[in-house]
């Protein structure tokens, strides 16, 4: 028999969808690019030190620029999906503007968390000419740790 779903998503939560954050600055720092190149043992000349380019995976550091209001519906949260999109290469030293918005909120029933809520948000990064550079899309599964089943 199907479990009955009692949604905890309210109209107040739904009102977050589509609301854009204020822009947040993020600088592609040379020391971060070089640190990641060293950690990943990446010798690709396209973004080697001195090339003026940063490796595409510096995008992984830019989640610190994701500052938009996110609804907190359940007390626990874990990132379950992520998407990276690259419109053009990153330039070392450039300052980017990040704008975040919630794009979807939905209920989920089943799995290890029992009832959970999926909150999907996107962050777009623009350069000083307002040209699109990259984007991150993240889905966080919010859950109640007390209701979660033991790990598999």
């Amino acid at each position: 028999m199907a479990e009955e779903l009692e949604s905890k998503i309210t109209d107040e939560h739904r009102a977050f969808i589509g609301r854009k954050s204020d822009p947040v600055s993020f600088t592609v720092r040379e020391q971060d690019a070089n640190r990641l190149l060293g950690l990943l043992d990446d010798h690709d000349p396209r973004w080697a030190a001195g090339s003026g380019k940063a490796p595409p995976y510096v995008l992984g550091l830019m989640q610190t620029a994701r500052r938009g209001a996110m609804p907190s519906i359940l007390p626990g949260g874990i990132m379950t999906q992520q998407e990276w999109r690259f419109t053009r290469p990153f330039r070392v030293g450039e300052e980017l503007k990040a704008i975040t918005q919630v794009i979807d909120i939905r209920d989920r029933l089943g799995g290890r968390y029992g009832y959970s809520v999926l909150v999907t948000s996107s962050t777009d990064f623009f350069d000083t000419n307002d040209e699109h550079v990259a984007a991150i899309l993240i889905t966080v599964t919010q859950f109640d740790p007390k209701a979660a089943r033991g790990s598999e």
């Binding site: 640190r35 990641l36 992984g60």
Partner: protein, 147 residues
């Protein structure tokens, strides 16, 4: 430029559906897990502290999901060669990985198409820990043509 050309370049015309990318092994050490975001910027204490990871029930320091995505982007860029480029990665985190346990990166070509004068290759990629997928993803890569 000559240095770039010394890397192995793939061309769109040479790629076949179902072609497998050579697997690559990575060892996510605890230092790597901590250093990815920088020691002065701990995004999540479980990346920096094996004990915190154990309290969360994952058995040690967590490997940041973004480190695994970074490896996958590097993996596909290396495969594509210097004139190719990764344009997107979509990943689902299936289970956490613990620092100190090796990961294998693997991939396969699932689709090829030409769109707006671009040569697009779709890859299916995965990180495997003890044979089990921890991240599954799909990637889009642009490759040059021979002509």
């Amino acid at each position: 430029m000559s240095e770039m050309r010394s890397m192995n370049q793939r061309y769109f015309e040479d790629i076949r559906p179902d072609e497998e990318l050579p697997p690559v092994e990575k060892l996510p050490t605890e230092d790597l897990a901590v250093e990815f975001f920088g020691r002065d910027n701990p995004v999540n204490p479980a990346f920096a502290d094996a004990e915190a990871g154990r309290r969360m029930g994952v058995g040690g320091a967590l490997v940041p999901g973004n480190l695994k995505l970074a490896w996958l982007v590097q993996y596909a860029n290396d495969w594509a060669g210097p004139e190719g480029r990764v344009t997107s990665l979509r990943a689902v985190f299936r289970r956490p990985d613990v620092a100190g346990r090796p990961l294998t990166l693997a991939g396969r070509v699932v689709d090829l198409r030409q769109e707006d004068d671009r040569n697009i290759v779709e890859l299916e990629v995965v990180t495997l820990a003890e044979g089990q997928p921890s991240v599954r993803g799909s990637m889009q890569v642009e490759l040059p043509g021979r002509r």
